[in-house]
Symmetry: C2
Subunit: 219 residues, 2 copies
């Protein structure tokens, strides 16, 4: 990258980090546990989140969802009954802390126990942007190929939990579970790995359980 | 985006466009037809390209493959016997014309009939970077969800041909073909759509046929 771009980019990241710190403080004060989701496009973030919002009842949950275009995801997630806001990024390939802060305007955070932030589908750009979250979850579907953590190591390395999605397709896709786990752990040693299927519900109960344990450990 | 970033970004794109024009001229003079592939991570670009390189024999083919990390793809594609070079981008989310020019150093382009450039798996960032290609192919697998063209319209709009991959998984994934085609065409009216499975070879013959027709129409 040309030196001038690097310099500007570092300035942007520094500003984002500061905004994210302010957000984190605000979330903590309001008692909100914040979870962000990152993955490739089509790894199943929205279906996973839809089940998660339902599974967390009667806790008070809310979500922000990022996309370049359309508010399809917000409408899908809205069916769960939870308050959901769409962040439309235009051509921007990731969410940043300023977009999150803007989307939260007018929301009373004290009325929320858990807030989810679904990032734009992208395994590269979101990795450098802190959104003030407590937990970053990286999702990877069984159909994407077991090598993804090796090819996109930064985003796996920046995550706290990895979720392997669409396990109902594992056999049809010839998914190699051991290889996938080994590759995730090569990118992020010691990371907790969960496996889920939003279609048949497998593993969703365990995920909800772990999520609640993690959120309670924080408070 | 802050105005300064926009300004710098426009400068970078302008410089890229100029480099891409030079590349395109060089390719044309050498008689090389250049095809670039863009998609999400895990949509099956490499498997598709592996079959394509084999299917084009005895024509003289070569490939450049972009990834953040690892040279797995170059090694995989090298098994086809074609000359292949890996471009490792580090944290950069797309290929640009300068990376392509650099990767071509020392190659005699006159000895190549078709050159493939596999971009970093990303449905956002590669869309703005002209690589000097004659044909841009966007791939989307049946497992990603039919809505991807609506959510990532720019990259579909910048493509010349759309390929729906992993059709062997269509039934297991509950793929809605009509919806997918309608969404691709909403993002890019009139675009040619092909369907393939690298696993069972379905549609690969038709793709090779279309590719050769397109490359011959150019020359």
């Amino acid at each position: 990258m040309p030196p001038r771009i690097v310099e500007v980019r570092e300035g942007v990241l520094k500003k984002n980090d500061q905004l994210a710190r302010e957000l984190r403080l605000r979330f903590r004060r309001a008692g909100v546990y914040v979870v962000s989701l990152v993955s490739s496009p089509g790894a199943g973030k929205t279906a996973f989140l839809e089940h998660t919002l339902r599974g967390l009842r009667p806790r008070r949950v809310a979500a922000l969802v990022g996309d370049l275009a359309t508010d399809n995801d917000a409408r899908r997630l809205g069916r769960s009954g939870a308050p959901v806001r769409q962040i439309t990024t235009g051509t921007v390939c990731h969410l940043d802390a300023a977009m999150v802060a803007q989307a939260l305007e007018g929301w009373e955070l004290d009325t929320v126990d858990l807030l989810f932030i679904e990032n734009v589908g992208n395994l590269v750009c979101p990795s450098s942007y802190d959104l003030g979250e407590d937990l970053r979850v990286v999702l990877m579907s069984v159909t994407e190929g077991e090598d993804k953590p090796l090819k996109y190591p930064t985003i796996f390395n920046s995550a706290d939990v990895a979720v392997i999605t669409k396990t109902d397709l594992a056999e049809a896709a010839g998914f190699n579970r051991d290889q996938a786990h080994a590759n995730v752990r090569a990118a992020r040693p010691g990371i907790e790995i969960l496996e889920t299927s939003a279609r048949n519900g497998d593993g969703m109960g365990r995920w909800i359980e772990r999520l609640l344990a993690l959120s309670e450990a924080r408070s």
